[in-house]
């Protein structure tokens, strides 16, 4: 097990390096720089030029990259060009909101898709299965940002049930933790719902196929032949086997889940990394952008690794030292 981990960690480093290399050069190829944000008739171009020099934009791009990398190795992610804030602090401030939203949406999706998939697979080709399939496909096809808007229109503007955006009510800044958590949950409902609707389809479908496939296996028939109840069959014998493909899919879906939540954060002004990153693209706040990409990639890679480890844990057939292809 450790051996596998060790080997995988060795791959992660060059991958992250690749990620930074690609994003840095694409980013630098984009016209404009953070200083152009200052454009205003009362601002002189000499001042803007001076700031550019102070920030090192006059250096060749590869030198800027090497400098950035050097600082990174020393554990310094730099300072935001726009706010002068240490980048690490900026990211850490945003990380909880992003993780809260993505992890809770993941949990909700799993909680919903598991029973749905089981029902569909068990009752395959019935009316129940067909309608669940159509609905989950619908969820997959709806543009999530539009769905977000529609939810705002319906739940916030028309029914006035939920806030349109934000994270927590500012007036609660010194309320109890419980009250804060409640308020955050209340704000999180709509973004969560939006992500969940889009996320259900894929997993339900995989689950369904998994169930159908597993239920046709000999060992299920054999277990049934031993008089084991349907409930036990589904929830003991089939379940653990279904989890295998699901874990892989989850690992592969992680990028789209994280990436997808960024646009949702944007729509709902959710103070997560996505919002920070999208802003940074438009403001050309390179240090923040680089760090956002780095963190996201890291999360994605780690997510895949966790999926692999879970897989190895759940599936006894994968023994120590043997890597899954």
């Amino acid at each position: 097990m450790l051996h596998v981990l060790y080997k995988r960690f060795l791959v992660v480093v060059p991958m992250l390096l690749g990620v930074t290399l690609i994003s840095f050069f694409i980013m630098k190829a984009a016209p404009g720089d953070p200083v152009s944000m200052y454009m205003d008739p009362s601002v002189s171009l000499e001042d803007m030029q001076q700031i550019r020099e102070n920030l090192g934009f006059d250096l060749p791009v590869y030198k800027q990259y090497v400098l950035w990398l050097k600082e990174l190795c020393l554990g310094n992610l730099g300072y935001s060009y726009v706010t002068g804030k240490p980048v690490f602090q900026a990211i850490v401030e945003r990380l909880p909101a992003t993780l809260l939203l993505s992890i809770s949406s993941l949990v909700v999706i799993l909680l919903i898709t598991f029973p749905l998939g089981l029902i569909c697979g068990y009752k395959k080709d019935t009316l129940v299965d067909d309608s669940i399939t159509v609905f989950s496909f619908l969820g997959l096809s709806i543009p999530s940002f539009w769905l977000g808007l529609m939810f705002i229109l319906l739940f916030s503007l028309t029914l006035d049930l939920f806030p349109t955006s934000g994270f927590m009510d500012p007036l609660l800044y010194d309320a109890s933790i419980f009250q804060k958590a409640m308020n955050i949950g209340y704000h999180m409902f709509l973004p969560l719902l939006t992500i969940v609707v889009g996320g259900i389809a894929g997993l339900t479908r995989y689950n369904r196929f998994g169930v159908i496939k597993i239920l046709a296996q000999d060992y299920i028939v054999a277990a049934r032949a031993r008089g084991i109840s349907e409930f036990r069959l589904l929830f003991k014998h089939a379940l653990k086997n279904i989890m295998l493909p699901i874990i892989t899919i989850l690992g592969l879906d992680l990028p789209s889940l994280i990436g997808g939540s960024y646009i949702i954060e944007y729509i709902f002004s959710w103070p997560g990394m996505g919002q920070l990153g999208v802003q940074a693209v438009f403001q050309r706040d390179y240090p923040i952008l680089m760090a956002t990409i780095l963190f996201s990639s890291f999360l994605i890679i780690i997510g895949n690794m966790i999926a692999d480890i879970c897989y190895a844990y759940v599936d006894p057939r994968i023994s120590r030292g043997k890597e899954r292809v």
Binding site: D218, Y219, V221, A223, R224, R226, G227, D315, P316, R317
Partner: protein, 259 residues
């Protein structure tokens, strides 16, 4: 003990309809062994699976299956659960795929034993180890905690047999139990089954495509072809004077060693 009348199985799907078993009938009395032979797809497995109502939902089954006086076809799923395993055991062709790969042998055996008796988990484990010992698994106390994929095919079949025997069924349906094994293992498994049958005094339905296997140990043989029983009788009758052309072909197919 078991009496099958006009058993008929059809598979329906969107496009097609397959008539797998076309109204077969046979009887089996206590302690007897019935052999069913025929080529693949002749309906041997389907007919025996339908006794336990283990066919997928696309199958339409009609006819009567009397087991100890009740018609299993009309039984509820809950009642069937009491019949399956406890009264009629079933051994599958491919032992590896018949064992759930993600649970240890101990887990699956204990589950089965507990299901059909009041034994505690510890007692069940002891019983399972004993049974494994009986089916000649070496070092069962240790190996019982292994996963199925860590055993050879022959061993898996022994485990399957042990698991089936743990429920002490009155009837054992062995669905080509040796088809996926190599020749020496085949022989060992068949011998094991013979001795266990004696010990537990079970009736047995032995399904095989190999007439040779069936001939030695059956009281009666049914030959199936395209979903029908084309000939039935004692092995002596069948071998001595096969009436159907198909039976003759089957007999000719038994390898004979010529010098």
């Amino acid at each position: 003990m078991l009496s099958i009348r006009n058993l008929d199985v059809e598979f329906h799907s969107d496009q097609s309809r397959v008539h797998a078993v076309k109204g077969i009938s046979y009887e089996l009395s206590e302690g007897q062994t019935l052999g069913i032979v025929g080529e693949s797809g002749s309906g041997k497995s389907v007919s025996s699976l339908s006794i336990l109502k283990l066919l997928p939902s696309t199958a339409r089954v009609s006819g009567e299956v009397f087991w100890k006086g009740t018609d299993l076809i009309k039984e509820t799923e809950a009642a069937m659960r009491l019949v399956r395993g406890a009264q009629i055991g079933y051994i599958f062709q491919n032992p590896l795929s018949a064992l759930n790969p993600v649970f240890t042998v101990a887990n699956q055996m204990v589950e089965t034993i507990c299901l059909h008796s009041d034994a505690t988990k510890e007692e069940a484990l002891e019983e399972a180890i004993e049974l494994l010992d009986k089916v000649k698994i070496e070092n069962p106390r240790k190996r019982i905690h292994d996963y199925p994929h860590q055993f050879s095919l022959g061993m898996c079949q022994r485990i399957m047999i042990a698991m089936t025997l743990s429920m002490k069924p009155d009837l054992l349906i062995a669905d080509e139990p040796t088809a996926s094994l190599d020749v020496t293992t085949q022989k060992e498994i068949l011998e094991l089954m013979d001795s266990l049958k004696e010990e537990y005094q079970m009736s047995m339905i032995l399904i095989s495509h190999d007439l040779g296997v069936v001939a030695e140990r059956c009281d009666e043989v049914a030959v199936m072809y395209l979903g029908e029983i084309v000939e039935m009788g004692t092995p002596k009758d069948i071998f001595g004077s096969p009436k159907e052309a198909y039976t003759k072909i089957l007999i000719d197919a038994i390898p004979k060693i010529r010098f």
